[in-house]
């Protein structure tokens, strides 16, 4: 990621004029102080703090170039994320962050957008985009901070709320079968599917690192407790609360889709780690190939000359 030219052949002045950044090995990673912006508006004790802290860690550890960090979110508590990161960021509309981030990724191959959102954003209003971003294998990382509840709007049933969860829209307990994010991602064709939880910081960072190294769409479900509206939801996965944190068995083959699906079928707390990873060309790669083939045919021509050739056929 040290190349500082923008991919836009055929344009005279498209070369980026950013001075070349020093090689990653020589560069100092950004400090938390440099990368932290507004103080988060989350409630004290919210799981999202941990995800933010680990994103900072990732930036520091992987020595990401400041100007290339692009953080995108939709709407929800977790989606306030970009305001808390001192870097280029987008706070978009509800459910559509993936589509916007795809536009960034596909038009700027030098950037790796990180998208943060909640379960409502990802699996309810944005469900269609989740499916299609996954199947198109667009190069970006999507971290869903799943808290099983609508928090920003103060406790309505979410698409991942378990049956029986008492919310303001289901006073008698949730009746709709919840979505299983892991199954959803695997079935949609995501090429990197991982599960983690905010109470295990090292594991969150491991997953983020694996995701950023993945070529294509990487999806992380990160359990992130809403202490205000769903306290204790994930205690069964937290050893400090008497639960169990069980990692994906060491003999699990991440290339085995059916095995991944079986892991995803385990009842809560289930497994944590990389369930599935496939090596398939990303849409970015495929589009780059289409461009390279097309450019080959118009080699040496200025943009206006290419258009002129088209117009000559319209006479």
């Amino acid at each position: 990621m040290s190349v500082s030219t923008v991919e836009s052949p055929g344009s005279k002045t498209a070369i980026a004029v950013t001075p070349p950044a020093p090689a990653t090995s020589e560069r100092k990673g950004l400090t938390k102080k440099e990368i932290a912006a507004d103080h988060p508006t989350w409630c004290p004790g919210c799981g999202d703090f941990s995800v933010l802290a680990l994103y900072f860690k990732l930036i520091e550890k992987r020595k990401l170039e400041h100007e290339k960090i692009t953080t995108v979110a939709g709407i929800g508590c977790s989606s306030r994320f970009p305001y808390f990161v001192q870097a280029h960021g987008v706070h978009y509309i509800h459910g559509r962050a993936l589509a916007l981030a795809s536009g960034i990724s596909l038009s700027r191959p030098d950037l790796h957008p990180f998208v943060f959102g909640g379960d409502g954003d990802a699996f309810s209003i944005g469900g269609n985009h989740f499916t299609h971003t996954a199947r198109k294998n667009i190069n970006l990382t999507y971290v869903v901070m799943d808290n099983w509840v609508y928090g920003l709007t103060k406790k309505q049933t979410s698409p991942t709320s378990p049956l029986g969860f008492k919310s303001k829209t289901d006073g008698w307990g949730a009746v709709d079968y919840p979505i299983n994010p892991m199954k959803q991602a695997i079935a949609a064709g995501a090429t990197f599917v991982a599960r983690t939880t905010h109470t295990n910081p090292k594991h969150v960072l491991d997953m983020m690192e694996a995701a950023i190294d993945h070529d294509g769409f990487s999806f992380i479900e990160c359990l992130s407790e809403c202490v205000e509206f769903y306290e204790g939801a994930f205690d069964a996965s937290n050893p400090r609360k008497g639960g169990e944190f069980i990692t994906v068995p060491s003999d699990h083959d991440v290339r085995d889709e059916m095995a991944a699906y079986k892991l995803a079928d385990m009842p809560f707390p289930g497994y944590f780690g990389i369930f599935y990873q496939a090596s398939k060309p990303s849409k970015n790669t495929k589009e780059a190939e289409i461009i390279a083939n097309a450019r080959e045919k118009v080699k040496g021509l200025e943009d206006w000359q290419i258009l002129q050739k088209t117009f000559d056929r319209l006479k």
Partner: protein, 608 residues
Amino acid sequence: MSDSVEAPAAAEPGGKGVSKVSEAVIRIAGNSQDGIQAIGGFLARLAGRSEQEVMTFMTIPSTISGGPSIFQVRIGSGEVLSAGDEADVLLAFYQHSYENHINSVRKGGIILFDADHVKAKPEWEGEYRHIGIPISSLTVEAIGGTARDKGKNIFSLGLIARMFDLNVPKLEKLITEKFTGKNPSIAQNAITAFHAGYSFSLGSLVDTFSFKDSVQRDRSQVVMNGNEALAFGLIAAGVRFGAGYPITPWSDIMEILRRDLPKYGGSFIQCEDEIASVSMAIGGSYAGRVAVTGSSGPGIALKSEAIGWAVMAEVPLIIVDVQRGGPSTGMPTNVEQSDLNIACFGGHGDAPRVVLAPSNVEDCFYSAIEAVNIAHKYNTPVFILSDQAIATRIEAFPEPDLASLCQNIMQDLAPVEDFKPYDLSTPDGTVKRIVPGTRVMSGKYPVATGLEHDEMGHPSGSPKMHALMTAKRRKKMQSLADTLPKPQVYGPPEGNVLLVGWGSTEGPIREAVDRSRAAGDSVSSLHIRHINPLPPGLADIFSGFNHILVVEMNDGGLGGYGQLAALLRARFTDGRIRGVNKVEGITFKVKEILERMKTAVAEKVQAS
């Protein structure tokens, strides 16, 4: 055909006369799979290459295959403003084509019909010249083999070429070009069919014609439809990324961009839905240069929330709306101008955006460039309001000077010292934005946001900040309005009636002005390309007329005036602004405008 028949210049042996004409309207009616668009396309392209003016009009059924379809082409040696109210020649392939379209032919016009499928009606034979030719069987005879009557369109083109003394070598070249790359026998069959039609002894049955010489032009012409012109305009303007979802009649534009952008190093992405399309385009714009999305009515409605975000976040975006009949699925393959309101006002909150409406095919090309430049400078969404009529009609226009028009709009990534994305201190409200990859030396990076925000893009619930930022977004529109040219009145700047139009109605409105003035009536017209913000000088122009009639293809509503008229009335509180509206899914005929204008003027005179 205008111009009276002159003395026969050269009588064909045993045949009729040859007349010189300055223009002709030919309507071809058949079914959608008969290739009648191809005949029209050849005629239009030939006109372009012959320095003639041309305008076409077509309808296609909204079903996939089958169903009646027409293509009308008007070719002239002088200026051609509309596709013509009445046809001089109808070429009818079937009984239904004959019966449904004979009314569109002027009395005394020529009906050329396929005698294999059409039985002429005796009651019409007195009113029109009927020429029955067994087109299907002659085509089969000419081509032979298994092609059946495929090729009867090209056979018919031969007939028309003979009837109008068209340039045969140029047509042969066009046919060969069209079929190049396919099986060589197909091109050969097409040429054979063409010559079979051309050598049919048509001259013995009916007058033939030849076009008067047209004015020599300094630049050669290009021939294309509005969707093509719009797509190529976007490319010339430097757009290199976009996203869309298929919908008629917008899809052509996305197909062209998908096919052509890679040549320029760009790409166009087909998305899962309209909302993803607008979002992805916004992502592309945010990350680099102005990107495009587009749709037709229903899709525009779906994009509305995201467009509001682009207004709020001040991210440039081009939204193409190829209007069709609405609401809902409405009339997908018919024309209407009923999306002006959604373009100007669609969405929640005070969300000012720019709306341009190209008035003809050539203008689609230049409006696209203008739209991109406005979006780029003002960091705002810009609508291009095209419609089904412009999208599908073919015109010839002077070839643009691409070397000087093509531009690069990529944001450079030069580091900046400090950056405020929503700086309130600039005089016109605009800020030169920066994109990801740009280093900010102060270490303070911008957030693009849909929440009301402070100058750095961080959320602000301050009442004062909301007022300031709302004013900033409005101020950009005002600054833009100040730079717009005052529109030119067509005809004298003062008079009795001013016809006001926008979009694809320019041609018929101008023709209505020409005819009125020729008849001694005091009529002028004004065509508004900048719908939002409106250009300066309109109140002045309106003050020079007694009647201001806004001609538009949408409903007159409860007040008797349509969408542009409502906008103008709200802005200028001028009760003289009234509507001439039509919602039949087809374009205005010149005579309809004239009749409706007379009625409207008479009503007002009576009332006063």
